[in-house]
Amino acid sequence: MRALWALLLGSVCGAQTLDLRAPAVIEQGAAAFAKSCAVGYCHGSEGRSARGPELRGRRYEPKALFGMIHDGLPGTSMPAWKGILPNEEIWAITGYIASLGSAPVAESQTVVDLSQAASEPARRLSAEARRGRELFFDLNRQKRCGLCHALEGRGRAVGPNLAATLEGRSAAEIRRAIDDPHASIAFGYAETELVTADGETIVGVRTEEPTDVVRIYDFGALPPPLRSFAPEQVRRVRRLERSPMPGGWTAVYSEDEIAAIVAYLDAEN
């Protein structure tokens, strides 16, 4: 796939353009469509309607079509594909769907300039850092970093954004923060203790959003549920000078694996 893109993109030296009518582009678009759009119950094989609308036999304006695929249609089942598929592939799908239309795309709209809306180039991570990323978000582990930390749109932002809080830290410092979560506490993420009117004690992370209820991530179990209390349901709230981050990571990950995670976080900031 990548090699083909290189060929197609290279056709016009310097400016990255794509001809939506080029058979190779339509072919690639068809393959991407079959995998991402026709599947299951959405637009059906070759756009012959399933749950989503029938795509054959319509008139298309490529830029608008690209926008619909890229950004989705809010309020409907049509998702945004940005961040899931590279823009080049979305353009190829655009070319393919346009080829199913009732009329050819206007001559003036067949060549698109990719350089204006290029996908972010994939960051180059070392093999170890890539493995660390996998482990950080590994869904097969019920305890994992990604349960409370989000990076690159994965994981869950219960705890701080590590790309920011670890900025400038050495690999050794990152390792220390994993081994001893209390060594330094990210601003706004000190552990909160909440005692309910019923006498239940909850420790975790209190969310700061302005709301008429008190919300706290309950670290009594992982993944932490976000629990909400009306003011009259709360007896006492106090901030503790320690981190809510659990320890014991050497029981979850091997030494090698922790080293890979450190390499990932080191690369991430």
Binding site: G40, Y41, R48, S49, R51, G75
Partner: protein, 570 residues
Amino acid sequence: MGAEGSQYTVGRMLRTLLLLLLIGAMAAPGQEVNAERLARAEAEPHNWLTYYGTYKAWRYSELSQIHAGNVGELTAAWAFESGFPDGGLQATPLVVDGVMVISTASNHIFALDAATGRRLWRYDYAAVQESPATYGNWNRGVAIAYGLVYMGTLDNHLVAVDLETGREVWNVEIENSKQCGCDITGAPLVVKDMVVTGVTGGDSAHRGYLNAFDAKTGRHRWRFWTIPGPGEPGHESWKGESWKYGGGSTWITGTYDPELDLLYWGVGNPAADFYGGGREGDNLYTESIIALDPDDGKLAWHYQEIPYDVWDYDSAYEIVLLDTEIGGKPRKILVNPNKSGYVWVLDRTNGEFLGAWNLVENSNWVERIGENGELIGRNEPPLGEPTFLCPAIGGGRSWNHGAYSPKTGWFYSTGLEWCQTVTVKQEEPQPGMAFFGGEFQMAHPRGGKAFSHLSAYDPVTGKRHWQYKHEYPLLASQLATAGGLLFAGDATGRFFALDAETGKELWEFRTGSGHRGSAITYSVNGRQYVATPSGWGSALAGLTTQLWPEAADFPTGSSLFVFALPEAGR
């Protein structure tokens, strides 16, 4: 394949019975729904407390004010419009002591006065835009207990909101939905002091599971992986790394036997759906009924209906619990209609295979099922060659549920006579992305036109007592009542009542949009109501246009229609 020995003990059964007797004696309507009220839901026919009505999953009510003799007088009492028609309305409403709660597509919940339809509160889940693409935006229902309403979400969270106010009480993310390519569309099930939820993801490169949470706090209790990990029994039924991406979703609500203290759940297809290369083996526990100890989520027994599925059938549908006699001996059985059209009958104490029978005539994926449950004459589509297969991916039946009436002793179910051409394509898994391994094109059966039917069957033998034919797929659940009635709805928006004994149509009402949800019945202040969601939509509703082009004009919707007999004196 085959059942493992039962691990449930007599001691555990006695312990549970004692608990039920002690606390059950105190349970009375008016207090909040708890484990005891749920276990005895049939004692409260004025309510519809849990997804299938009761844990037996009969979708049957003892209410008989509306009966075969007066159903012709049934009239609209009130209607409700959610305002969210995209995706249709697939839910089962619940009713607790005069309050109805219904969820809609895109995770909105409404609480209504069940007698008048007046809105009490509305809850809008915030994050619907984050849902993964594959499984649609619909929601099939909520669970209620301990003063809370539970709903799974399109970004794979489970939320609990206050039954009185609609205020969110807890919200837990099970897994990042973009990472797993999964979400929750099925209704949760409350068991004891826990709420259990399944997940979609059977058509994604994802490893399925079932999770239980503390009903009051949202704290995680246990997870059962539907695909065993390294070192666990059954892991050897997966080749290489395929276990990490093998699907095994739990998308339709399971059920619970309080007496045996076993939680039953059906597991969906393995991924990739059509391409089995790379996962050669039985692929446990996909296409299986699993029985778990609800206290710790440990497997008591399993029975695999379809080892190594390459057709995208599912064992995920309802599990109907019956106590009956087979060969002169009393048996505790379960009846599970599979998406393949076959209905499996198992001993629910230990998973022993008792038989399988077919809902549909158009069936060529296997020649037959042997007397020990073995699949004979498997018709596996080869790589790259378009293969004609029946039933279609939509199933010999869809997920919408059948009904069982103890009055007739019959199981009522729809059957879909449609086929498809499948072309298998080799595909490598990409974590969290769609993982189908092929394409399909809907097709009419050889020598005829696709159609559907609603029939009455002996639940053990499959002997058919009557059949009601329909030109379009019947995709709504059935409701059976002690009034000798069977309610159902069709794609054109007709909601109708049949005589449960004969299948004769007795009454109809046009609601304006097709039926894809599950009707219920309940009563308030002595007046019986029948409520049906109306709102064509869903994956199969879309697929129908490949065979019935006119279905493109069937409007979507998201309404609820409620019927009752005219009040005396008015």
